[in-house]
C-alpha cells in the first residue's frame, strides 16, 4: 500500500517536473526580440511545412464534414419543416465547434507528429547538440519558428476548414437535396454573429494552436534520443494534444457560450 502511494507521489512529481521543464522551455524559446532578417525566412519555411502542407487534409476533411452535416441536418430539419435553417445550423456548428476542434485534431495528427519526429530525430543525430556547440541556441533557431508557425497556421486552417465545410454543405443541401439557396445564405447571414461566433471560434483555434504546437515541440525536444523514444514521443504528442484540445474546448465553450 505504502509502495503504491509512493509510486503515485513519484509519478505526480515527475509530471510536475515535466510541466515546469516545458514552461521554462517555452519561455527560453520565445523570450527574445525577433530578428526579422534571420527568423523571417525560418518562419516562412515552417509556415509552408506546418500550414501549407496541411492544407490538403484540411480541405478534404472540411468538405466531407460539411457534406455530412448537411445530410444529417436536412434529415432532421425536414421533420419539422424547417430545412431552410440548414445554412444557419451548418455555419454555427462549423464556426463554433467543428472548425476549431476538428482542425486542431487533424493538425495534431498531421503537423504535430511531424514536428515531434523531426525535432526528436535532430536530437538523436546530435544536430541540436552540434548547433549548441556552434554557439546557436536551438530553442531560438529550431523551436521558436516552429511554435510561431503553428500559432499562426491553426486559426487560418480552421477558418479555411469552416469555409469549405459551408461550401460542402451548400453542394449537398442546395444543389443535391433542393433546399432553397436564398434561404440557405440569408438564414446563415442573419444568425451568424461576427463577435460571438466567428471570433470565438478564432480565439478557440488560437488557444488550440498554442497548446498543440507547444506539446509537439516540447515532446520532440524532451524525447529520449532513441528510435523507441521518438516513437513514444510522437504517440504522446497526438494523444496529449487531442485530449488537451477536447478538454480545453469544453472549458472555452462553457466560458464563451455557457454564461459562466
Amino acid at each position: 500500500m505504502i509502495d503504491r502511494i509512493a509510486a503515485l507521489g513519484s509519478k505526480g512529481l515527475e509530471t510536475l517536473q515535466a510541466l515546469g521543464r516545458s514552461g521554462m522551455f517555452l519561455f527560453h524559446a520565445l523570450w527574445a526580440l525577433p530578428n526579422v532578417r534571420v527568423n523571417g525566412p525560418l518562419l516562412v519555411r515552417q509556415i509552408f511545412s506546418v500550414g501549407v502542407l496541411s492544407l490538403i487534409i484540411i480541405l478534404v476533411s472540411g468538405v466531407f464534414i460539411g457534406m455530412v452535416l448537411a445530410l444529417q441536418g436536412y434529415n432532421i430539419l425536414t421533420r419539422y419543416g424547417s430545412e431552410q435553417a440548414l445554412g444557419q445550423m451548418v455555419a454555427l456548428t462549423l464556426l463554433r465547434e467543428l472548425g476549431p476542434v476538428v482542425t486542431a485534431l487533424l493538425f495534431a495528427g498531421r503537423a504535430g507528429s511531424a514536428l515531434t519526429a523531426e525535432i526528436g530525430l535532430m536530437k538523436a543525430t546530435e544536430q541540436l547538440a552540434s548547433m549548441e556547440m556552434i554557439g546557436v541556441d536551438p530553442l531560438r533557431r529550431i523551436i521558436s519558428p516552429r511554435f510561431w508557425a503553428g500559432f499562426y497556421c491553426l486559426p487560418t486552417l480552421a477558418v479555411i476548414f469552416s469555409a469549405v465545410g459551408v461550401l460542402g454543405a451548400y453542394a449537398v443541401g442546395v444543389v443535391w437535396l433542393g433546399v432553397d439557396g436564398g434561404s440557405f445564405w440569408s438564414n446563415m447571414q442573419n444568425s451568424v454573429e461576427w463577435g460571438e461566433d466567428v471570433m470565438n471560434g478564432v480565439i478557440k483555434s488560437l488557444v488550440f494552436g498554442i497548446v498543440v504546437t507547444w506539446i509537439a515541440v516540447f515532446q520532440g525536444y524532451d524525447t529520449v534520443p532513441t528510435s523507441e523514444g521518438i516513437s513514444r514521443a510522437t504517440t504522446r504528442t497526438v494523444v496529449y494534444a487531442s485530449l488537451a484540445v477536447l478538454g480545453l474546448d469544453f472549458i472555452l465553450t462553457a466560458v464563451m457560450f455557457g454564461e459562466l
Partner: protein, 279 residues
C-alpha cells in the same frame, strides 16, 4: 614513464582548458570523481580510455552542455558551469566540435553546413563566405562535394565535412569526439593527418577523445588515460605507451583481462550454471 594522475602536465602553464577537482554524477553513479586535467594551448591533447568511461561526457562538460556537480572547468579563463545561457553561447562560438556521428544538418547541403557558423556569427559578404567555405572544404578534400546533401556522403566524407564546419570560424579550441571510429583505413589516415596539420597550421588547441591507441598516439602531444571516473595515467605518447601502471598498460596494449576485468560483475559460474535459478 607515464606518471600517476597528478595533472603535472609538463607542457601546461599556458592552459586553454583547466579542469580542477571536477565531479560529475549521473543519478547516484559517479562518472568523474575529483578529476583534474590541463589542456595546454596550441597542443593536441588526447583523452583516452575504454568505452563507457565518460570521454564524450568530458567534452560535453567542457562545452557546457552538461554541468558538473562539483569543481571548476575553465575555458580560456571562463568558468563554464557558472556562465549564463547567452554568455555560454558566446564562449562556444570560439569552440568547434567534431561529433562522432558528424551531426551535419540533414536539410542543408555540405556548402550550407560549412557556411552555417559564418552566417550566424559574422556579417561577411556572400563572396567572402563562399571563399572561406571552399577553402575549408579544400582543406578536408571535399571542395567538389559542396553541392551534395549529407545523405549522399559516405561516413568518412560526412566526418570530414563536419570537420570543415567545426573549423569554419577558425576556433581557438577544437574538440574531436572519436574521430577515427568506424572509418576505413584510408579515411582514418586522412583524418589523423588532418587533425595534426590543422592544429599546426591554424594554431588552435585540440582535444581528441578516442580509444584508438596507435592513431591517437601518433598525433598527440600529451595523453590522459581515464577509467573508472578518474585519470589513471598521463604523459607523452611514449611515456603512456611504455607505462608500467597496470591499468594503463592493459588499455594501451589491448590486453583482454587485467585490473579492468573482461567480465561484467556477475555471480560465480558455479552458482549460475549449477544453482538452477534463473537470474
Amino acid at each position: 614513464m607515464a606518471s600517476q594522475p597528478q595533472s603535472d602536465n609538463p607542457v601546461a602553464g599556458n592552459d586553454y582548458v583547466r579542469i580542477t577537482d571536477m565531479t560529475f554524477m549521473r543519478g547516484e553513479r559517479p562518472i568523474f570523481k575529483d578529476v583534474t586535467i590541463r589542456i595546454p594551448r596550441g597542443k593536441v591533447t588526447a583523452i583516452m580510455g575504454p568505452s563507457g568511461t565518460g570521454k564524450t561526457t568530458l567534452l560535453r562538460l567542457i562545452g557546457g552542455q552538461l554541468r558538473p556537480d562539483r569543481g571548476e572547468i575553465l575555458v580560456d579563463g571562463h568558468n563554464i558551469p557558472r556562465l549564463g545561457r547567452q554568455e555560454l553561447f558566446r564562449v562556444r562560438s570560439k569552440m568547434g566540435m567534431l561529433f562522432q556521428s558528424g551531426a551535419l544538418f540533414t536539410d542543408l547541403p555540405v556548402y550550407e553546413n560549412v557556411a552555417f557558423p559564418l552566417r550566424v556569427h559574422t556579417d561577411l559578404p556572400e563572396d567572402m563566405i563562399r571563399d572561406i567555405v571552399l577553402m575549408k572544404l579544400q582543406a578536408v578534400g571535399l571542395r567538389g562535394a559542396s553541392h551534395l546533401m549529407p545523405s549522399e556522403l559516405s561516413g568518412g566524407m560526412a566526418r570530414r565535412a563536419a570537420l570543415a564546419r567545426a573549423i569554419a570560424l577558425d576556433p581557438d579550441l577544437v574538440m574531436y569526439d572519436e574521430p577515427f571510429a568506424g572509418q576505413d583505413p584510408m579515411s582514418m589516415g586522412v583524418v589523423v593527418q588532418l587533425i595534426r596539420l590543422l592544429n599546426d597550421a591554424l594554431g588552435h588547441t585540440s582535444i581528441v577523445v578516442s580509444h584508438d591507441v596507435q592513431e591517437t598516439a601518433s598525433i598527440a602531444d600529451y595523453i590522459y588515460v581515464v577509467s573508472g571516473g578518474e585519470v589513471i595515467g598521463e604523459g607523452s605518447p611514449d611515456e603512456v605507451l611504455n607505462s608500467d601502471l597496470p591499468r594503463v598498460r592493459q588499455f594501451m596494449q589491448g590486453l583482454p583481462d587485467g585490473p579492468v576485468p573482461f567480465h561484467y560483475p556477475a555471480p560465480s559460474v558455479e552458482q549460475d550454471f549449477l544453482g538452477g535459478e534463473q537470474s
